[in-house]
């Protein structure tokens, strides 16, 4: 029992801290989630992490929902709730209060400097998460090919990604990936 509470506290503290460093959205925090869940805490294997990322992507709604899956895997329903609240709570409180005073600082030079400084950081982090998930999912040559084709197609054409997911699922089911 105590170890269960300990696990929940670890989840809570960890995701609450992580949320404050998610510059550019939840996906920017994926590499750190991967590092903790797979490399440091050994909560799951590389493949399981890739599975959770896949499930989160096919679930409608914000990408942040991947933390719910990680939380569930680690500590069941309580873990899912704790991880989700911890990942959203601190930044929501932040958003609540900043939203109030934001207009006042609309043209403040420090605000523009912060914004200009954060944009390249968030682009680099999103790129890092692409690298991490591409590595985690590259379990065969065909998987790498699916990743590459999806990247090229969705970059160049406006296509509902559901079709691509359906196609990739069929390829996988056929034992080709």
């Amino acid at each position: 029992m105590t170890s269960e509470i300990g696990t929940l506290l670890t989840l809570a503290g960890y995701f609450a801290l992580l949320s404050l460093f998610a510059i550019g959205g939840a996906n920017a925090a994926l590499p750190e989630m991967h590092r903790l869940a797979v490399d440091v805490m050994h909560w799951m294997s590389e493949r399981q992490f890739a599975d959770m990322f896949a499930i989160a992507q096919v679930t409608p709604g914000p990408n942040v929902i991947v933390v719910t899956l990680i939380g569930y895997h680690v500590a069941g329903l309580a873990g899912a709730l704790v991880a989700t609240l911890a990942m959203c709570g601190p930044t929501c409180v932040f958003a609540f209060f900043i939203g109030r005073v934001w207009d006042r600082f609309k043209d403040a030079p420090w605000r523009m400097a912060i914004q200009a400084g954060l944009v390249p950081v968030s682009i680099g982090l999103i790129g890092a998460s692409a690298a991490v998930v591409a590595r985690a999912t590259a379990q065969s040559a065909l998987a790498v090919a699916v990743t590459a084709v999806t990247a090229v197609v969705t970059y160049n054409f406006k296509l509902n990604p559901l079709w691509i997911f359906a196609g990739a699922a069929l390829l996988g089911l056929g034992g080709l990936i």
Binding site: F21, G24, G25, P31, E32, D39, Q48, D51, M52, I55, A56, T59, P60, G61, N63, I65, L69, H73, T84, M87, C88, T91, C92, F94, A95, F96, I98, R100, W110, Q115, G117, L118, V119, P120, V121, S122, I123, G124, L125, I126, G127, A128, A130, A131, V133, S140, V146, T147, T150, A151, T154, Y155, P161, L162, I164, F165, A168, L170, G172, I177
Partner: protein, 195 residues
């Protein structure tokens, strides 16, 4: 609404915008969440600006810029900022509940199924396929985001983006160490360049 206000701080809209009731807020954000497959931004703009007309396009852009600037999940921040604007604390809470409630239920159900059937070979093969495609989607999203930066003349921003990518994505350094150096450095240079 009288016209005798001495100094109008902002131009008054000709048609007053409808103010959503708490339940309407909750429903709207649930719909955004449920439609919002592969990009919640598109659906939130469509809902807020085009369908319900709760915000003008400019207001939406400003609110969204704020939510990009705040740490954490952008759309989650957006629900809190908008909910608070129109209905105070209750508004922020119901908007958040609307946004996160449905996907939380769906994903919990999927987790349960995964815990039972995740090790079945067929399920694993399907997930491997979907995960590979999802990784490709993340790569194309990154390229789209980086587009404006890549078209700029190479400068400090490129160094910062490359450093974040290499240290976190390739070398797997802890995020906190990297950001502890990169964020203050990047902001300081951005500040200095403005002068």
């Amino acid at each position: 609404m009288s016209d005798t206000t001495p100094i109008p701080l902002q131009p008054t809209p000709i048609v007053p915008k409808p103010v959503p009731k708490p339940l309407e807020l909750c429903v709207a954000f649930s719909l955004i969440s449920l439609y919002g497959f592969g990009g919640v931004l598109y659906w939130s703009r469509r809902m807020m600006v085009d369908e319900r007309k709760w915000m003008t396009a400019e207001e939406f852009n400003e609110a969204y810029a704020l939510c990009n600037f705040l740490p954490g999940p952008n759309i989650v921040n957006f629900s809190v900022v908008f909910g608070r604007q129109v209905r105070g604390t209750l508004g922020a809470l119901v908007a958040l509940l609307g946004l996160l409630g449905p996907p939380f239920l769906v994903v919990t159900l999927l987790s349960l199924l995964y815990a039972h059937y995740g090790e079945i070979a067929a399920v694993q093969r399907v997930l491997a396929g979907v995960a590979a495609a999802a990784a490709g989607l993340t790569i194309s999203a990154t390229l789209k985001m980086a587009g404006p930066l890549l078209r700029e003349r190479p400068g400090f921003a490129h160094v910062v983006a490359a450093a974040a990518f290499l240290t976190v994505g390739v070398l797997s350094w802890p995020l906190y160490w990297v950001l502890g150096v990169l964020i203050p450095g990047s902001i300081a240079v951005a500040w200095w360049m403005r002068q």
